[in-house]
Structures are given as structure tokens and as C-alpha cells.
């Protein structure tokens, strides 16, 4: 087990480094001359602004050297300063991470709480009208982007009830009620729209398990249907479902970027958008690193969780 964890940690580090390497390179290939753009708006001025900005970006160094320098800086916990306004990236991350984490976690909880049970019910009631309705619902949620649902809800609520979600962010610790009022709607919509795929996967996994001999045996032994479903079938169906949750989380992380824009939430997703628009490389790289760390960590945790669910799985 220890060897497995060590191996996975090494693999995680390689993954994160690989991701940041790709992002480090990719931003430099974004359309438009980034140095021109940054030099024209950044804190660096003067006739040599172009050369100075190149130096700040490390573009006057070989690519690998520049990347190495950035990694060294990040290893000390310093994500650098905005090239546009000189403010510390660390500051924005410190403010934005709790917001995105709250939205992400709430969405994850809603998504799992919605997607998994619905998938189980749909599988148990296969080919019934309940199954039909639930599958149709999942298709709708898959087809219609979550942000569109969000905007429609805002527009309808505004037209019909003159209601709008809160537009001022207040921390949970300062006013939990106001905070939840602001987060509840985006978390539900993001969670539900992300859950459609999870629901379908759960259904497929359950159907596969439901046909197994041991399930038939359990039923033959006279166990209640509830026990058959939740104790025997669901637990075995859970393994592939858990593996999907890592992907599910990545989907939610991507969703937070847009949902933070719509619902006035000052998370790092919203920050990422503005950084991309202004070609503020330090910010983009920092957030990419954080997202990569989160996804890798969650996937590691889900893999380790298998051992709890399936005693046959040992590393």
C-alpha cells in the first residue's frame, strides 16, 4: 500500500509538472502578440518597455530556463505579480480560492446527491416510465449548458418575481445566511447539470451489477429489495462510479469559471478569465497549477477510496 501511494504521488508530481509545462507553453502561443499587449498596459514603461516585459516573462531566456525559473519561484510559494497592475497574484489566489472551493464543493455534493440516487432509481426501474423520465432529464441536462440554464433562471426570476441573486459577496464566516443565499442557486445548477453524466454512468453501472448472480442470490435468500439494491448491488456498482467522480470534479472546476461570472462570485475562475484576456501570464500559470493540483489530488483520493469500498482491492 505504501509503495502504491508513493508511486501515485510521484505520478501526481509528474502530472502536475506536465500540466504546468503545457500551460506555460500554451499561453505563449495565444493569438496576438502578448509582449506588445502587456508592454502597452503593464507597469513597465519607458522606451525599453518591450524588452523589459520580455525579461519579466522570461521570454528573453530559453524556454526551459524560463520554465525552470518559474517553478523555482512557485516552489517557494510565490506566484509572482500581475504584469498589468503589479498586484500580488498570491493575494488574488488567497481571496479567490475559498470562494471557488465553496462553490465547487457545494456543486459536487449536490451533483452526487442528485446524480447517484437518480441513476440507481433509473436502473432499478429500468424501462418503466420513471426510467424514461429520468433518462430524458439527464439528456436535457447534458444537452443544455449549465450556464444557459442559469441565465434563463435569472431572467425568468427577474421578469416574474423581480428577484435577482445577491450581487455582493459576503464570506460564510461573516454572514452564513447571505453567503448561502448567494451560493445555493449556482451550486444547485452547476451540480445538477454536471450530474447528468454521473447519473447515466451510475445507471449503466447498476444495471451491470444488477444482473450478477450474487444479486439474484441475495434476492433468492429473501432479502428485502432495498437491501438488495443498496447493500449488495450499489456497493459493487460504486467502484466505477467513484472513478468517474474525478472527471466529474474536473467538469465542475471548468463550470465554476463561468458560474462565478454569472453569479458575481469572486473566485479564481473569474480571476482566470480576466488574466487570460489581459495575457497576465503569472496569473494564468498559477491558476492552472492549482487546478491541476486539485484534480490530481482528488483522483488520488478516489483511487485510495477503492480499498475502503472493495476489500478485494489492495495495492
Amino acid at each position: 500500500m505504501t509503495n502504491y501511494i508513493v508511486g501515485r504521488l510521484i505520478s501526481a508530481v509528474i502530472t502536475v509538472i506536465g500540466t504546468t509545462f503545457l500551460v506555460f507553453g500554451a499561453v505563449r502561443f495565444l493569438p496576438g502578440n502578448a509582449v506588445d499587449i502587456i508592454a502597452s498596459t503593464s507597469t513597465v514603461g519607458g522606451p525599453n518597455a518591450h524588452a523589459q516585459v520580455e525579461h519579466e516573462l522570461g521570454l528573453d531566456k530559453p524556454f526551459l530556463v524560463g520554465y525552470g525559473d518559474w517553478l523555482k519561484q512557485v516552489a517557494t510559494g510565490d506566484f509572482g505579480k500581475s504584469l498589468i497592475n503589479g498586484q500580488s497574484i498570491n493575494r488574488f489566489l488567497k481571496e479567490g480560492l475559498p470562494v471557488s472551493a465553496e462553490l465547487g464543493l457545494m456543486s459536487l455534493v449536490f451533483g452526487i446527491a442528485f446524480g447517484v440516487p437518480i441513476g440507481v432509481i433509473s436502473a432499478v426501474k429500468q424501462d418503466s416510465w420513471i426510467d424514461f423520465v429520468l433518462r430524458s432529464l439527464s439528456i436535457v441536462l447534458l444537452a443544455v449548458p449549465g450556464f444557459l440554464i442559469a441565465v434563463i433562471i435569472i431572467v425568468v426570476a427577474s421578469r416574474v418575481w423581480n428577484w435577482n441573486p445577491p450581487i455582493t459577496y459576503i464570506k460564510f464566516t461573516d454572514d452564513p445566511v447571505h453567503n448561502l443565499e448567494q451560493f445555493l442557486l449556482p451550486a444547485i445548477i452547476l451540480g445538477f447539470s454536471s450530474a447528468a453524466a454521473l447519473m447515466r454512468f451510475t445507471r449503466t453501472s447498476m444495471l451491470d451489477v444488477y444482473r450478477q448472480d450474487y444479486v439474484r442470490t441475495a434476492r433468492a435468500k429473501g432479502l428485502s429489495e432495498r437491501s438488495v439494491v443498496w447493500t449488495h448491488a450499489f456497493r459493487n456498482a460504486l467502484i466505477p462510479i467513484i472513478s468517474v467522480i474525478g472527471v466529474f470534479l474536473a467538469y465542475i472546476i471548468g463550470g465554476t469559471v463561468i458560474f462565478e461570472q454569472i453569479f458575481q462570485l469572486p473566485g479564481i475562475g473569474r480571476f482566470l478569465l480576466s488574466e487570460v484576456n489581459t495575457r497576465d501570464y503569472p496569473g494564468i500559470q498559477a491558476i492552472a497549477l492549482i487546478f491541476a493540483l486539485i484534480v490530481v489530488a482528488v483522483n488520488l483520493i478516489t483511487d485510495l477510496a477503492y480499498t475502503l469500498i472493495d476489500p478485494r482491492v489492495r495495492y
Binding site: 493569438p31 502597452s40 503589479g86 481571496e95 441565465v151 427577474s158 455582493t168 454569472i262 458575481q264 462570485l265
Partner: protein, 576 residues
Amino acid sequence: MQGNYWQRLNRRRFLAGMGTGAAGAAMLVSGACGSSSNKSSNGTTGPTSSGSSGGSGGSNVPTPPQISLAPDLKTIQSGTPKTGGSFHAVLGGGSPDQYDPLRDAGYPGLQVAGGCLSSLVRAHYPILGDLTIEPDLAETREQPDEQTTVFHLRKNAKWQNVAPVNGRDLTADDIKANFDYMRTAQPDFVLGPMFELVDRVDATDAHTVTVHTSKPYAPLISNLADIWGKIIPKEQYADDLAKQKPVGSGPFIFDHFTNGVEYVLKKNPDYYISGKPYVDELHWHNFDPSNPNLAPAAFKAKQIDTGGAATIPLALQLIKDVPNANWGWRYGVLNPMMLNNSVAPFNDERVRQAVMYAIDPESIIKITWQGFGKQGQQIPLWYSEYQLADADLPKRDVKKAKDLLSAAGHSNLDLVDKTFQGGQLAFGTLQVQQSLKDAGINLTIQQQQWADWRVNVYGIKGDFQCTMGGEFDFLSLDRQLWNSYHSKGAANNRHVKDANLDKMLDDARGIFDHAKSVAAYKAINKYITDHAINIALPNGTAPTATQPWVKGWFFDWSAGALLEMNFLDSVWLEAH
């Protein structure tokens, strides 16, 4: 001076300034411009005869061709100001990138900084009203001769009681330092070209500043009264502190911000105008510009005190939903088809004129602006006294266009218009493309990423054959015209080298007599139009609103000049 001047031009700013996307505005009532019945609160009453007072219901909904432009300024300005409360406004164009107006802060940064920073003088140009230049830090001024202006500062003026100025007195030395700062020889000091003629600034005593120019320079005051002409303390010059946080002597102190979402200013207790500001706090809210429903929804829910809508259909719906708001329609930014005068084919005046005569402005008004537009000119339309008569404006003439093209040696012509992504939908580009076809001109639209367009096409590099994407309008006509069309202008992206025009622009700078100045600038307007140095496409108008309880303040006539930001000390809120 280089072209970082252009950086303040932000796609979202243009779109916000025009009311984004297709703004529709009805044709102006022809008598509205300058009509004595529609003057500002400086003169007489507000609304036009189409009945848009601030308080009526369905009659407030404008329809082409007549619209009601002005809010009921008489009602807005009536009543005894009450203190207290928080004023919630909408940031136009995204979140602030930085806060130093002298170094080309973007539109949102200018809005936030506008409440924190003061000027020597400030300009006010209400919808359908008259332009006034009012005292700000300079309580009085005098002009002993055409090259000398003396400003007498308010003796009680102090910097805000926050670091790094800590409430110290604001003196003539600060103003002198600010002039030097404004004229720093760096590309991003966008006002530098406008003060090149300032020869010397003397702090005659602690509260007297004397500005000497090397030549008579009439636009000095309008440049200082512009939203960019702010006074920044010298402690903020180094390390780009002025970019990071606005600290000044204005009515509000920058308190805190939630990045990208909300920017909060608090009342400055040491503000030099006694009794002001009235409100305790000013909150700037940033809504995602790509979701035009968000700000109107917040306005309807009474979460914000200023409103409007990104498109005309949304605006008309919002007017129906909130009929008792104070509504005003104002002009968006200039809408030119910029031609590169230095390269083929536009280095030939006949080709430029051919394009001008081939364009169908009515189609742009009808389709892009949905009827709520007006043929544009070289000078912003809200500068009504500088406008040319309709008879002096070019009318579509496809035959003439073809004849001119033929005379220039072209039977057909292929052109490339570089624009930013989405820009072709917002400025009439598609209608231009369509109408040019009738004259045998094929216009290919080449889309670029916004930032790339801004720097390399729209910027001083002017790497284009032609481009459309809006253009900012300024209070200062010198900045509007000299900077853009003079061969030495820092914003001359059209690469104009016209000795006659240079002379006209130089001469206009030295004219102090108002009537003669108007005549001179009208002549420049006509010259640029007749020679098709720049083709002015129709402008749209943008609806804007405040909640009925907002008093003492409304938006000025130009969505782009931001002059109302100079008067945030006057806003107060009725109980509601």
C-alpha cells in the same frame, strides 16, 4: 509619443459606451439639438415633446424616428439633499485594470478613480444641455494673456487621510508636480501630447499655480477638465502606486474591493466642498458583459441604482418594467471607418471618396442601430454646435463612387477590413460590406483577437488598410482631432500627412474666441469629411437610467467622455 494612447480603448468599453451590440436609437428630433426647450438644468426644462419625463409610464418608451432623449433633470435636481446611504452603480466594460487616468486607465478604472480623484476644473455636459466648465480644485482662474493661465486653489483642499498622503495639504507644488508627471516621456502617459505646449508651471505661492504655454493654447482648460485630467499626489508616482489604488483629494476614498465583482469607496470626511459628498458609500458593481441580462435584472430587483441595457430590445423591455426610473438616451462612442491614408489604395483621395459615397448609412441606422441612430461626423454628435448641417454631409451616390473609382484606375476594388472578434456585428461593418458591393468594392472582414487588434491595428502602428471598431470621444476637441489627424499626433493611426489639415489644426489651437473656435473646428470637420480622410459612420445611442430615488445626479450626454464621474459628490438618495 507612441501609441499606447489606444490602450484605454477596450472592447467592452465601446460596447458599454454604445449600449453594446446593436444599440437602436430613434432619429433625433431635428430640433432637439440646441433647442432651447431642451436645455439642461443650467437653462430650462429637460424632456422633449415626446413626453419622456422621468416619471411617466408607457409614454416613456421611445420609438423611432422620434425619441425622447433627456431625463427630467428638473425633478432629479429638485429637493433638499439628504445625507447617508450607499449608491450602487454599474461598472461599464469589465473590472478595472488600473486606476491612473494619466497612464491610460481603462474605462472601469476611470469610473472608480473618478470618485477618488479631483481635477483643477471639471466639465459638465448634460443630455441636451450646455457644456459648462466648473471649478474643482481651482476655485477661480484667470487668464492675463493667451499664454498664461493662473489657477487659484482652494485653501482647504487636502489629500485624503490615507497612506501615502495621510491628509496633508494640497498645494501649488502638488499641481506643478502633477503637470510634470502628466508629461512624462513614456508612451503610456496619454495626456502628454496634450500638454506639450506647456512651457513652464510655477507655484507662485502655496495656492496659486501659473501655467505658461509656449504658444497660445486654447484647449488647455478642456484638457484639464476631461475625465483623464486628474490630480495625483507625487507619493503615488513611484512603483506604479497610482495604478494600483486611486488616492487623491476627491469626494470618496477607495476602501476595498472584491476582485472583479465590487469596488467600494467611502465618503471623504475632509472633502473640500462643505456638506459633500452626500452618500456614505459608493459601490461599483461589475457584471459579466457577455451576459447582458445580468445588470438589467439587478436594476429591476433594485440592487443597483444605475442601469441600462446592452441592447435596444433589452432596454425597451427594461423601460417597460421600470417605467418610473429616470431614463435618458445618450450618444455612444464615435463610429468611424478608419482608412490608412498612407498606403494604397487609400493614399488616393478618389478611392477614399468612392468608399464614402458607396456606403449606405441608412442601412446601418436601420439594422445595426435598429432605427436609433444618426449619421455621424468627425466630431462627437453631442458637441451639437460643432456639427455640420445635413446638406454638408455626403449622401450615398453609387454612380459617383464608381466614377471616382474608375478615375483612380480601379474597375473593381478588393479591401481588407481588420476588426476584432464580434466587432463586425456592432459598428455596421456588415452593412458597409454589403453596400460597398454595389460599387464593385469587395470588402473582406478579417477578425482578430481584441488585444491584438487594439495594439497592432487600432494603435499607432496602424497596421490596417481599413478598420472599423469605434473610437473614443473626448471633451477636448484638440485631443479628438489634433492628436488623431495631425501628422505629429500621437494617435494618428490613419497615417495622415496633410499639410493643410496640419495648419488648420495648429491654428485652431490658438483661437480663444468661442464663435471663431466653433467655426474653425467646423471647418476641420468639413475638411476631413470632404476629403474622406476618415469616414464617419452612423452613431448609435445608448439608454441609461437611474432609480427614481437617485437625486442630484444623472449621466452626461456622452457615454464615452464619462463627464458625470466628475460630479459623484452631488448624488444623494431619497428614502425608498
